[in-house]
Amino acid sequence: GENAEPAEKNAGDASDTDAEKKAPAGEQAEIDIMLDWYPNAVHSYLYVAMENGYFEEEGLEVTIQFPANPTDPINLAAAGKITLGITYQPDVVTARANQNVPVKSIAAIVRSPLNHTIFLEDSDIQTPADLAGKKVGYPGIPLNEALIKTMVLSDGGDPAEVSMIDIGFELGTSIVSKQVDAVTGAYINHEVPVLAFEGHATRYFNPVDYGVPSFYELVLVTNDATWESQEEDIRAFWRAAVKGYEYMVEHPDEALDILLNYQDQANFPLIEAVEKQSLTILLPKMEADSGFGSQDADSWQETIDWMLEYGLIDETPSLDEIFVNITE
Protein backbone atom coordinates (compact mmCIF):
# COMPACT_ATOMS: atom_id res chain seq x y z
CA GLY A 1 0.00 0.00 0.00
CA GLU A 2 2.92 2.39 -0.42
CA ASN A 3 2.30 4.61 -3.38
CA ALA A 4 5.45 6.51 -2.77
CA GLU A 5 7.69 3.54 -3.08
CA PRO A 6 10.21 4.17 -5.79
CA ALA A 7 9.72 2.04 -8.84
CA GLU A 8 12.69 0.27 -10.31
CA LYS A 9 14.79 2.70 -12.19
CA ASN A 10 16.44 0.47 -14.70
CA ALA A 11 13.29 -1.27 -15.66
CA GLY A 12 14.23 -1.58 -19.32
CA ASP A 13 14.98 -5.27 -19.07
CA ALA A 14 12.34 -5.94 -16.48
CA SER A 15 8.81 -7.21 -16.46
CA ASP A 16 6.40 -6.55 -19.25
CA THR A 17 3.71 -4.60 -17.50
CA ASP A 18 1.19 -2.54 -19.43
CA ALA A 19 3.11 0.56 -18.66
CA GLU A 20 6.26 -0.91 -20.07
CA LYS A 21 4.63 -1.83 -23.33
CA LYS A 22 3.23 1.61 -23.98
CA ALA A 23 6.37 3.37 -22.97
CA PRO A 24 8.82 4.54 -25.55
CA ALA A 25 12.23 2.98 -25.45
CA GLY A 26 14.48 4.15 -22.67
CA GLU A 27 14.10 4.91 -19.02
CA GLN A 28 10.91 6.11 -17.44
CA ALA A 29 11.29 9.29 -15.45
CA GLU A 30 9.54 9.34 -12.12
CA ILE A 31 7.24 12.10 -11.08
CA ASP A 32 5.68 12.20 -7.62
CA ILE A 33 2.84 14.62 -7.39
CA MET A 34 0.95 15.45 -4.25
CA LEU A 35 -2.59 16.73 -4.59
CA ASP A 36 -3.85 19.65 -2.57
CA TRP A 37 -6.62 17.60 -0.98
CA TYR A 38 -8.05 14.19 -1.40
CA PRO A 39 -8.99 13.52 -5.03
CA ASN A 40 -12.03 15.23 -6.46
CA ALA A 41 -13.27 16.72 -9.70
CA VAL A 42 -10.51 19.29 -9.84
CA HIS A 43 -8.05 16.45 -10.34
CA SER A 44 -9.92 14.71 -13.13
CA TYR A 45 -7.47 15.75 -15.83
CA LEU A 46 -4.62 13.99 -14.00
CA TYR A 47 -6.54 10.78 -13.79
CA VAL A 48 -7.52 11.11 -17.41
CA ALA A 49 -3.89 11.52 -18.35
CA MET A 50 -3.07 8.48 -16.35
CA GLU A 51 -5.91 6.33 -17.59
CA ASN A 52 -5.40 7.30 -21.21
CA GLY A 53 -1.70 6.72 -21.09
CA TYR A 54 -0.63 10.29 -21.77
CA PHE A 55 2.03 10.10 -19.09
CA GLU A 56 3.47 6.91 -20.44
CA GLU A 57 3.59 8.41 -23.89
CA GLU A 58 5.81 11.08 -22.42
CA GLY A 59 7.95 8.43 -20.80
CA LEU A 60 6.84 9.26 -17.29
CA GLU A 61 5.90 7.17 -14.36
CA VAL A 62 3.61 9.29 -12.24
CA THR A 63 2.69 8.57 -8.65
CA ILE A 64 -0.17 10.52 -7.16
CA GLN A 65 -0.12 11.13 -3.41
CA PHE A 66 -2.70 12.66 -1.11
CA PRO A 67 -1.65 14.91 1.72
CA ALA A 68 -2.24 14.01 5.35
CA ASN A 69 -1.99 17.69 6.18
CA PRO A 70 -3.11 20.56 3.99
CA THR A 71 0.29 22.21 4.03
CA ASP A 72 2.24 19.13 3.08
CA PRO A 73 2.18 19.62 -0.72
CA ILE A 74 4.21 22.82 -0.60
CA ASN A 75 6.32 21.69 2.35
CA LEU A 76 7.31 18.42 0.77
CA ALA A 77 7.85 20.00 -2.61
CA ALA A 78 10.15 22.54 -0.98
CA ALA A 79 11.93 19.75 0.86
CA GLY A 80 12.39 17.87 -2.38
CA LYS A 81 10.49 14.86 -1.10
CA ILE A 82 8.05 15.07 -4.00
CA THR A 83 8.51 16.38 -7.51
CA LEU A 84 5.40 18.46 -7.70
CA GLY A 85 2.79 19.71 -5.30
CA ILE A 86 -0.53 21.38 -5.85
CA THR A 87 -0.95 24.34 -3.58
CA TYR A 88 -2.19 27.90 -3.31
CA GLN A 89 -0.69 30.96 -4.92
CA PRO A 90 -0.46 33.15 -1.80
CA ASP A 91 1.33 30.35 0.04
CA VAL A 92 4.02 30.34 -2.60
CA VAL A 93 4.44 34.05 -2.08
CA THR A 94 4.70 33.62 1.68
CA ALA A 95 7.26 30.87 1.36
CA ARG A 96 9.37 32.81 -1.06
CA ALA A 97 9.09 36.16 0.70
CA ASN A 98 9.38 35.31 4.36
CA GLN A 99 11.79 32.41 4.54
CA ASN A 100 13.17 32.37 1.01
CA VAL A 101 12.03 28.78 0.66
CA PRO A 102 13.10 27.71 -2.82
CA VAL A 103 9.72 26.86 -4.33
CA LYS A 104 8.41 28.10 -7.61
CA SER A 105 5.09 27.86 -9.30
CA ILE A 106 5.14 26.27 -12.72
CA ALA A 107 1.50 26.25 -13.67
CA ALA A 108 -1.76 27.84 -12.61
CA ILE A 109 -4.48 25.21 -12.43
CA VAL A 110 -7.47 27.08 -11.06
CA ARG A 111 -7.29 30.73 -11.85
CA SER A 112 -9.62 32.29 -9.31
CA PRO A 113 -10.57 31.55 -5.72
CA LEU A 114 -12.68 28.51 -4.90
CA ASN A 115 -11.92 29.12 -1.28
CA HIS A 116 -14.98 30.56 0.41
CA THR A 117 -15.89 31.18 4.01
CA ILE A 118 -18.86 29.02 4.82
CA PHE A 119 -21.22 28.75 7.73
CA LEU A 120 -24.50 27.03 8.44
CA GLU A 121 -27.66 28.40 6.87
CA ASP A 122 -29.18 29.33 10.22
CA SER A 123 -26.07 31.10 11.49
CA ASP A 124 -26.38 34.71 12.61
CA ILE A 125 -23.42 35.68 10.47
CA GLN A 126 -24.53 38.09 7.77
CA THR A 127 -21.43 39.93 6.62
CA PRO A 128 -17.73 39.22 7.19
CA ALA A 129 -17.65 41.83 9.96
CA ASP A 130 -19.90 39.49 11.96
CA LEU A 131 -17.02 37.02 12.14
CA ALA A 132 -15.51 39.14 14.89
CA GLY A 133 -15.91 37.27 18.15
CA LYS A 134 -16.58 34.03 16.30
CA LYS A 135 -14.51 30.88 15.93
CA VAL A 136 -13.34 30.34 12.39
CA GLY A 137 -11.74 27.05 11.46
CA TYR A 138 -9.18 26.77 8.69
CA PRO A 139 -7.04 23.94 7.39
CA GLY A 140 -3.74 25.26 8.70
CA ILE A 141 -2.94 27.03 5.47
CA PRO A 142 -1.66 30.53 6.22
CA LEU A 143 -3.46 31.99 3.23
CA ASN A 144 -6.73 31.65 5.10
CA GLU A 145 -5.64 34.02 7.79
CA ALA A 146 -4.90 36.57 5.13
CA LEU A 147 -8.31 36.04 3.59
CA ILE A 148 -10.21 36.52 6.82
CA LYS A 149 -8.15 39.52 7.76
CA THR A 150 -8.78 41.16 4.45
CA MET A 151 -12.45 40.34 4.34
CA VAL A 152 -13.20 41.47 7.88
CA LEU A 153 -11.18 44.66 7.46
CA SER A 154 -12.77 45.57 4.17
CA ASP A 155 -16.16 44.99 5.77
CA GLY A 156 -15.27 47.31 8.63
CA GLY A 157 -14.73 44.71 11.31
CA ASP A 158 -11.80 43.99 13.58
CA PRO A 159 -9.87 40.93 12.40
CA ALA A 160 -8.07 40.70 15.76
CA GLU A 161 -11.34 39.59 17.30
CA VAL A 162 -11.74 36.62 15.02
CA SER A 163 -10.39 33.50 16.62
CA MET A 164 -8.76 31.32 14.04
CA ILE A 165 -8.48 27.58 14.75
CA ASP A 166 -6.34 25.17 12.82
CA ILE A 167 -8.63 22.23 12.21
CA GLY A 168 -6.60 20.33 9.63
CA PHE A 169 -8.81 18.43 7.24
CA GLU A 170 -11.87 18.45 9.47
CA LEU A 171 -13.60 21.24 7.54
CA GLY A 172 -16.96 19.58 7.15
CA THR A 173 -17.08 17.77 10.45
CA SER A 174 -16.17 20.72 12.57
CA ILE A 175 -18.80 22.98 11.15
CA VAL A 176 -21.52 20.35 11.25
CA SER A 177 -20.65 19.37 14.80
CA LYS A 178 -20.70 23.11 15.60
CA GLN A 179 -17.19 23.13 16.97
CA VAL A 180 -16.58 26.28 14.98
CA ASP A 181 -18.92 28.99 13.76
CA ALA A 182 -17.52 29.16 10.26
CA VAL A 183 -14.79 27.63 8.21
CA THR A 184 -12.64 29.16 5.58
CA GLY A 185 -10.60 27.17 3.12
CA ALA A 186 -13.76 25.33 2.14
CA TYR A 187 -14.38 25.06 -1.59
CA ILE A 188 -17.42 26.35 -3.30
CA ASN A 189 -17.25 23.38 -5.63
CA HIS A 190 -16.66 20.71 -2.98
CA GLU A 191 -17.53 21.30 0.67
CA VAL A 192 -20.58 23.34 -0.15
CA PRO A 193 -22.26 20.68 -2.32
CA VAL A 194 -21.04 17.84 -0.09
CA LEU A 195 -22.55 19.47 2.95
CA ALA A 196 -25.73 20.13 1.06
CA PHE A 197 -25.81 16.51 0.03
CA GLU A 198 -25.41 15.45 3.66
CA GLY A 199 -28.35 17.66 4.49
CA HIS A 200 -26.59 20.70 5.89
CA ALA A 201 -27.48 23.87 4.06
CA THR A 202 -24.80 26.52 4.14
CA ARG A 203 -24.20 30.10 3.18
CA TYR A 204 -20.83 31.58 2.26
CA PHE A 205 -18.76 34.68 1.47
CA ASN A 206 -16.67 34.93 -1.64
CA PRO A 207 -13.37 36.61 -0.74
CA VAL A 208 -13.22 38.40 -4.06
CA ASP A 209 -16.30 40.35 -2.98
CA TYR A 210 -14.45 41.68 0.05
CA GLY A 211 -11.16 43.15 -1.12
CA VAL A 212 -9.24 40.02 -2.01
CA PRO A 213 -7.77 39.94 -5.49
CA SER A 214 -8.72 37.07 -7.70
CA PHE A 215 -5.62 34.99 -7.00
CA TYR A 216 -4.81 31.63 -8.52
CA GLU A 217 -6.54 29.14 -6.26
CA LEU A 218 -4.39 26.20 -7.23
CA VAL A 219 -0.90 26.25 -8.65
CA LEU A 220 1.59 23.52 -9.35
CA VAL A 221 4.84 24.03 -7.46
CA THR A 222 8.26 22.50 -7.40
CA ASN A 223 11.59 23.10 -5.78
CA ASP A 224 14.19 25.28 -7.57
CA ALA A 225 16.66 22.43 -7.52
CA THR A 226 14.14 19.94 -8.83
CA TRP A 227 13.25 22.34 -11.59
CA GLU A 228 16.84 22.60 -12.62
CA SER A 229 17.45 18.89 -12.66
CA GLN A 230 14.08 17.72 -13.98
CA GLU A 231 12.82 20.58 -16.12
CA GLU A 232 12.36 18.37 -19.14
CA ASP A 233 10.42 15.76 -17.19
CA ILE A 234 8.20 18.38 -15.69
CA ARG A 235 7.52 19.93 -19.06
CA ALA A 236 6.67 16.49 -20.36
CA PHE A 237 4.39 16.01 -17.38
CA TRP A 238 2.62 19.21 -18.16
CA ARG A 239 2.17 18.30 -21.82
CA ALA A 240 0.42 15.13 -20.72
CA ALA A 241 -1.61 17.03 -18.17
CA VAL A 242 -2.75 19.49 -20.84
CA LYS A 243 -3.90 16.58 -22.96
CA GLY A 244 -5.84 15.29 -20.02
CA TYR A 245 -7.32 18.73 -19.51
CA GLU A 246 -8.41 18.99 -23.12
CA TYR A 247 -10.04 15.59 -22.90
CA MET A 248 -11.81 16.68 -19.74
CA VAL A 249 -13.15 19.81 -21.38
CA GLU A 250 -14.47 17.84 -24.30
CA HIS A 251 -15.75 14.82 -22.41
CA PRO A 252 -16.54 15.98 -18.89
CA ASP A 253 -18.74 12.97 -18.12
CA GLU A 254 -16.16 10.45 -19.24
CA ALA A 255 -13.49 12.31 -17.34
CA LEU A 256 -15.57 12.13 -14.22
CA ASP A 257 -16.17 8.45 -14.75
CA ILE A 258 -12.45 7.90 -14.95
CA LEU A 259 -12.00 9.80 -11.70
CA LEU A 260 -14.75 7.88 -10.01
CA ASN A 261 -13.34 4.59 -11.22
CA TYR A 262 -10.03 5.48 -9.75
CA GLN A 263 -11.53 6.13 -6.42
CA ASP A 264 -11.38 3.39 -4.04
CA GLN A 265 -14.97 3.37 -2.96
CA ALA A 266 -14.24 2.81 0.71
CA ASN A 267 -11.37 5.19 0.83
CA PHE A 268 -12.75 8.22 -0.88
CA PRO A 269 -16.39 7.74 -1.50
CA LEU A 270 -17.07 10.57 -3.92
CA ILE A 271 -20.65 11.43 -4.64
CA GLU A 272 -21.22 11.47 -8.34
CA ALA A 273 -23.85 14.20 -8.34
CA VAL A 274 -21.63 16.43 -6.26
CA GLU A 275 -18.63 15.94 -8.49
CA LYS A 276 -20.68 16.70 -11.58
CA GLN A 277 -21.80 19.96 -10.10
CA SER A 278 -18.28 20.65 -8.99
CA LEU A 279 -16.88 20.17 -12.45
CA THR A 280 -19.31 22.66 -13.94
CA ILE A 281 -18.12 25.26 -11.48
CA LEU A 282 -14.50 24.39 -12.09
CA LEU A 283 -14.19 24.32 -15.84
CA PRO A 284 -14.56 28.07 -16.40
CA LYS A 285 -12.11 28.77 -13.62
CA MET A 286 -9.48 26.55 -15.21
CA GLU A 287 -9.77 27.95 -18.70
CA ALA A 288 -7.01 30.31 -19.77
CA ASP A 289 -6.63 32.32 -22.97
CA SER A 290 -2.95 31.63 -23.29
CA GLY A 291 -3.25 27.94 -22.54
CA PHE A 292 -4.05 25.73 -19.58
CA GLY A 293 -1.59 26.44 -16.86
CA SER A 294 -0.24 29.68 -18.19
CA GLN A 295 0.68 32.24 -15.59
CA ASP A 296 1.00 35.89 -15.94
CA ALA A 297 3.11 38.28 -13.97
CA ASP A 298 0.22 40.64 -13.32
CA SER A 299 -1.66 38.09 -11.28
CA TRP A 300 1.43 37.42 -9.20
CA GLN A 301 2.12 41.11 -8.78
CA GLU A 302 -1.45 41.76 -7.74
CA THR A 303 -1.37 39.01 -5.16
CA ILE A 304 1.99 40.20 -3.85
CA ASP A 305 0.75 43.73 -3.55
CA TRP A 306 -2.31 42.62 -1.67
CA MET A 307 -0.25 40.58 0.73
CA LEU A 308 2.19 43.42 1.27
CA GLU A 309 -0.64 45.81 1.92
CA TYR A 310 -2.14 43.61 4.55
CA GLY A 311 1.19 42.93 6.20
CA LEU A 312 1.22 39.25 5.30
CA ILE A 313 4.70 39.58 3.87
CA ASP A 314 7.45 42.07 4.55
CA GLU A 315 9.48 41.81 1.40
CA THR A 316 8.67 41.55 -2.24
CA PRO A 317 9.86 38.30 -3.70
CA SER A 318 11.42 38.41 -7.12
CA LEU A 319 8.93 37.61 -9.84
CA ASP A 320 11.61 35.84 -11.87
CA GLU A 321 12.12 33.24 -9.26
CA ILE A 322 8.59 32.73 -8.11
CA PHE A 323 7.10 31.34 -11.27
CA VAL A 324 7.92 30.08 -14.72
CA ASN A 325 5.42 30.18 -17.47
CA ILE A 326 5.41 26.64 -18.66
CA THR A 327 3.29 27.35 -21.70
CA GLU A 328 5.95 29.53 -23.25
Binding site: T71, N75, A78, A79, T94, A95, N98, Q99, V101, P102, K135, G137, G140, I141, P142, S163, M164, I165, D166, I167, G168, E170, T173, S174, S177, K178, Q179, V180
Partner: protein, 250 residues
Protein backbone atom coordinates in the same frame (compact mmCIF):
# COMPACT_ATOMS: atom_id res chain seq x y z
CA UNK B 1 22.56 15.65 40.24
CA UNK B 2 24.98 15.22 43.03
CA UNK B 3 28.17 14.61 41.15
CA UNK B 4 28.69 17.34 38.65
CA UNK B 5 31.41 15.22 37.12
CA UNK B 6 28.80 12.74 35.99
CA UNK B 7 27.58 15.41 33.64
CA UNK B 8 30.82 16.03 31.82
CA UNK B 9 30.56 13.12 29.44
CA UNK B 10 26.94 13.61 28.41
CA UNK B 11 27.56 17.33 28.15
CA UNK B 12 30.46 16.77 25.79
CA UNK B 13 28.38 14.33 23.78
CA UNK B 14 25.57 16.84 23.44
CA UNK B 15 28.03 19.57 22.64
CA UNK B 16 29.61 17.64 19.80
CA UNK B 17 26.24 16.49 18.56
CA UNK B 18 25.10 20.10 18.41
CA UNK B 19 28.30 21.06 16.67
CA UNK B 20 27.80 18.37 14.08
CA UNK B 21 24.19 19.40 13.64
CA UNK B 22 25.25 23.02 13.16
CA UNK B 23 27.75 21.93 10.56
CA UNK B 24 25.35 19.72 8.67
CA UNK B 25 22.57 22.29 8.84
CA UNK B 26 24.81 25.00 7.43
CA UNK B 27 26.06 22.66 4.78
CA UNK B 28 22.56 21.71 3.64
CA UNK B 29 21.50 25.31 3.95
CA UNK B 30 17.77 24.61 3.97
CA UNK B 31 16.85 25.94 7.32
CA UNK B 32 13.22 25.08 6.99
CA UNK B 33 14.09 21.41 6.77
CA UNK B 34 16.93 21.46 9.23
CA UNK B 35 17.61 24.71 11.07
CA UNK B 36 20.96 25.08 12.79
CA UNK B 37 20.93 25.08 16.59
CA UNK B 38 22.08 28.68 16.62
CA UNK B 39 19.14 29.64 14.45
CA UNK B 40 16.83 27.86 16.86
CA UNK B 41 18.34 29.71 19.79
CA UNK B 42 18.02 33.01 17.98
CA UNK B 43 14.42 32.22 17.13
CA UNK B 44 13.67 31.34 20.70
CA UNK B 45 14.96 34.69 21.75
CA UNK B 46 13.12 36.48 19.00
CA UNK B 47 9.82 34.82 19.83
CA UNK B 48 10.26 34.92 23.56
CA UNK B 49 7.40 37.25 24.27
CA UNK B 50 4.73 35.38 22.37
CA UNK B 51 6.03 32.01 23.45
CA UNK B 52 6.14 32.88 27.10
CA UNK B 53 3.01 34.96 27.34
CA UNK B 54 0.69 33.06 25.04
CA UNK B 55 1.72 29.59 24.11
CA UNK B 56 3.57 28.39 27.20
CA UNK B 57 0.70 29.37 29.51
CA UNK B 58 -1.81 27.68 27.20
CA UNK B 59 0.12 24.43 27.23
CA UNK B 60 0.77 24.61 30.95
CA UNK B 61 -2.91 25.09 31.56
CA UNK B 62 -3.66 21.89 29.65
CA UNK B 63 -0.91 19.99 31.42
CA UNK B 64 -1.84 21.10 34.89
CA UNK B 65 -5.56 20.62 34.46
CA UNK B 66 -4.96 17.22 32.93
CA UNK B 67 -2.58 16.10 35.64
CA UNK B 68 -4.86 17.27 38.39
CA UNK B 69 -7.78 15.46 36.89
CA UNK B 70 -5.97 12.21 36.31
CA UNK B 71 -4.38 12.29 39.76
CA UNK B 72 -7.80 12.76 41.25
CA UNK B 73 -9.45 10.08 39.15
CA UNK B 74 -6.48 7.75 39.26
CA UNK B 75 -5.86 7.74 42.99
CA UNK B 76 -9.60 7.60 43.50
CA UNK B 77 -9.98 4.48 41.40
CA UNK B 78 -6.87 2.96 42.99
CA UNK B 79 -8.22 3.48 46.49
CA UNK B 80 -11.60 2.13 45.44
CA UNK B 81 -10.05 -0.97 43.89
CA UNK B 82 -8.00 -1.46 47.02
CA UNK B 83 -11.07 -1.14 49.17
CA UNK B 84 -13.36 -3.43 47.28
CA UNK B 85 -12.37 -6.74 45.78
CA UNK B 86 -15.20 -6.81 43.16
CA UNK B 87 -14.20 -3.38 41.92
CA UNK B 88 -10.62 -4.55 41.59
CA UNK B 89 -11.70 -7.68 39.78
CA UNK B 90 -13.71 -5.71 37.28
CA UNK B 91 -11.37 -2.81 36.64
CA UNK B 92 -7.85 -4.07 37.08
CA UNK B 93 -7.77 -6.42 34.08
CA UNK B 94 -9.32 -3.74 31.93
CA UNK B 95 -6.73 -1.23 33.02
CA UNK B 96 -3.98 -3.60 32.05
CA UNK B 97 -5.51 -4.51 28.73
CA UNK B 98 -6.20 -0.85 28.01
CA UNK B 99 -2.47 -0.34 28.04
CA UNK B 100 -1.88 -2.76 25.23
CA UNK B 101 -4.23 -0.86 22.96
CA UNK B 102 -3.42 2.49 21.37
CA UNK B 103 -6.01 4.58 23.17
CA UNK B 104 -4.31 7.63 21.77
CA UNK B 105 -5.90 6.76 18.43
CA UNK B 106 -9.14 8.00 19.96
CA UNK B 107 -7.71 11.48 20.33
CA UNK B 108 -9.19 12.88 17.12
CA UNK B 109 -12.65 11.95 18.35
CA UNK B 110 -12.23 14.17 21.37
CA UNK B 111 -12.18 17.16 19.11
CA UNK B 112 -15.63 16.19 17.96
CA UNK B 113 -16.82 15.82 21.51
CA UNK B 114 -15.19 18.76 23.19
CA UNK B 115 -14.53 21.03 20.28
CA UNK B 116 -11.45 23.17 20.11
CA UNK B 117 -11.65 24.06 23.74
CA UNK B 118 -9.04 23.24 26.33
CA UNK B 119 -11.02 20.10 27.18
CA UNK B 120 -10.19 18.15 24.07
CA UNK B 121 -6.52 18.52 24.93
CA UNK B 122 -7.11 17.84 28.60
CA UNK B 123 -8.98 14.68 27.60
CA UNK B 124 -5.99 13.44 25.60
CA UNK B 125 -3.72 14.23 28.53
CA UNK B 126 -5.94 12.48 31.04
CA UNK B 127 -6.30 9.50 28.72
CA UNK B 128 -2.59 8.82 28.67
CA UNK B 129 -1.67 9.85 32.21
CA UNK B 130 -4.53 8.12 33.96
CA UNK B 131 -3.05 4.65 33.69
CA UNK B 132 0.38 5.10 35.26
CA UNK B 133 -1.08 6.97 38.20
CA UNK B 134 -3.85 4.49 38.85
CA UNK B 135 -1.83 1.35 38.49
CA UNK B 136 1.15 2.61 40.43
CA UNK B 137 -0.94 3.90 43.26
CA UNK B 138 -2.86 0.65 43.37
CA UNK B 139 0.29 -1.43 43.30
CA UNK B 140 1.67 0.82 46.02
CA UNK B 141 -1.36 0.28 48.19
CA UNK B 142 -0.97 -3.42 47.62
CA UNK B 143 2.78 -3.37 48.14
CA UNK B 144 2.50 -3.21 51.89
CA UNK B 145 3.68 -6.55 53.17
CA UNK B 146 1.03 -8.93 54.38
CA UNK B 147 3.17 -9.60 57.42
CA UNK B 148 2.93 -5.96 58.41
CA UNK B 149 -0.81 -6.08 57.81
CA UNK B 150 -1.09 -9.08 60.11
CA UNK B 151 1.04 -7.37 62.70
CA UNK B 152 -1.27 -4.37 62.68
CA UNK B 153 -4.26 -6.66 62.94
CA UNK B 154 -2.83 -8.24 66.06
CA UNK B 155 -2.77 -4.72 67.47
CA UNK B 156 -6.47 -4.49 66.80
CA UNK B 157 -6.12 -2.16 63.84
CA UNK B 158 -9.30 -1.54 61.85
CA UNK B 159 -9.63 -1.24 58.09
CA UNK B 160 -9.16 2.52 58.34
CA UNK B 161 -6.06 2.22 60.50
CA UNK B 162 -4.53 -0.18 58.03
CA UNK B 163 -5.28 2.19 55.21
CA UNK B 164 -3.91 5.31 56.83
CA UNK B 165 -1.04 3.86 58.81
CA UNK B 166 0.14 1.17 56.41
CA UNK B 167 -1.22 1.21 52.90
CA UNK B 168 -1.14 4.94 52.29
CA UNK B 169 2.48 5.45 53.39
CA UNK B 170 3.54 2.31 51.51
CA UNK B 171 1.94 3.58 48.34
CA UNK B 172 3.60 6.99 48.32
CA UNK B 173 6.87 6.00 46.61
CA UNK B 174 4.89 4.13 43.98
CA UNK B 175 2.56 7.06 43.53
CA UNK B 176 5.50 9.35 42.89
CA UNK B 177 6.94 6.95 40.36
CA UNK B 178 3.60 6.95 38.62
CA UNK B 179 3.43 10.70 38.78
CA UNK B 180 6.85 11.00 37.19
CA UNK B 181 5.70 8.89 34.27
CA UNK B 182 2.46 10.83 34.11
CA UNK B 183 4.15 14.20 34.14
CA UNK B 184 6.26 13.23 31.17
CA UNK B 185 3.35 11.79 29.31
CA UNK B 186 1.26 14.86 30.05
CA UNK B 187 3.62 17.00 28.01
CA UNK B 188 3.31 14.56 25.13
CA UNK B 189 -0.45 14.45 25.55
CA UNK B 190 -0.75 18.20 25.47
CA UNK B 191 1.41 18.40 22.34
CA UNK B 192 -0.57 15.74 20.53
CA UNK B 193 -3.83 17.30 21.64
CA UNK B 194 -2.70 20.61 20.22
CA UNK B 195 -1.83 19.11 16.87
CA UNK B 196 -5.39 17.97 16.53
CA UNK B 197 -6.82 21.41 16.86
CA UNK B 198 -5.86 24.43 18.88
CA UNK B 199 -5.46 28.15 18.78
CA UNK B 200 -2.52 28.41 21.10
CA UNK B 201 0.01 26.24 22.81
CA UNK B 202 3.54 25.19 22.12
CA UNK B 203 2.56 22.09 20.12
CA UNK B 204 0.22 24.15 18.00
CA UNK B 205 2.78 26.87 17.52
CA UNK B 206 5.41 24.42 16.40
CA UNK B 207 3.17 22.99 13.72
CA UNK B 208 2.05 26.41 12.70
CA UNK B 209 5.62 27.49 12.15
CA UNK B 210 5.92 24.58 9.79
CA UNK B 211 3.21 26.07 7.62
CA UNK B 212 5.24 29.26 7.64
CA UNK B 213 8.31 27.41 6.39
CA UNK B 214 10.08 28.48 9.53
CA UNK B 215 12.27 25.56 10.59
CA UNK B 216 13.82 27.34 13.55
CA UNK B 217 10.33 28.31 14.60
CA UNK B 218 9.32 24.67 14.53
CA UNK B 219 12.12 23.68 16.87
CA UNK B 220 11.97 26.60 19.28
CA UNK B 221 8.69 25.61 20.96
CA UNK B 222 9.85 22.00 21.08
CA UNK B 223 12.87 23.12 23.05
CA UNK B 224 10.50 24.86 25.43
CA UNK B 225 8.33 21.76 25.68
CA UNK B 226 11.41 19.78 26.59
CA UNK B 227 12.25 22.28 29.30
CA UNK B 228 8.70 22.04 30.61
CA UNK B 229 9.02 18.26 30.76
CA UNK B 230 12.32 18.38 32.59
CA UNK B 231 11.15 21.01 35.05
CA UNK B 232 7.99 19.11 35.87
CA UNK B 233 9.91 15.91 36.55
CA UNK B 234 12.37 17.82 38.71
CA UNK B 235 9.44 19.30 40.59
CA UNK B 236 8.05 15.86 41.32
CA UNK B 237 11.49 14.67 42.39
CA UNK B 238 11.71 17.59 44.76
CA UNK B 239 8.27 16.90 46.14
CA UNK B 240 9.23 13.26 46.58
CA UNK B 241 12.43 14.16 48.38
CA UNK B 242 10.52 16.42 50.69
CA UNK B 243 7.75 14.01 51.61
CA UNK B 244 9.77 10.82 51.60
CA UNK B 245 12.58 12.17 53.72
CA UNK B 246 12.66 8.87 55.61
CA UNK B 247 14.07 7.04 52.67
CA UNK B 248 17.53 5.55 52.71
CA UNK B 249 19.21 7.91 50.28
CA UNK B 250 22.33 9.37 51.66
Amino acid sequence: MRHWKDWIAPFLLVFFALLAWEGIARFIGMSFILPAPTEVAAKLWELKVILFTVHLPATLQVIITGLMLSTLLGTGLAVWMNWSKPVEKAFYPLLIVSQTIPVIALAPIFVLWFGYTIWSKVAVTVLITFFPITVNTFDGLRSSSSQLRQLLLTMEAGRRDIFFKLELPSSLPYFYSGLKVAVTLSVIGAAIGEWLGAQAGLGYFSRRMMTQFDGAGVFAPIVLLALVGISLVLLVVLLEKMTLHWRKTE
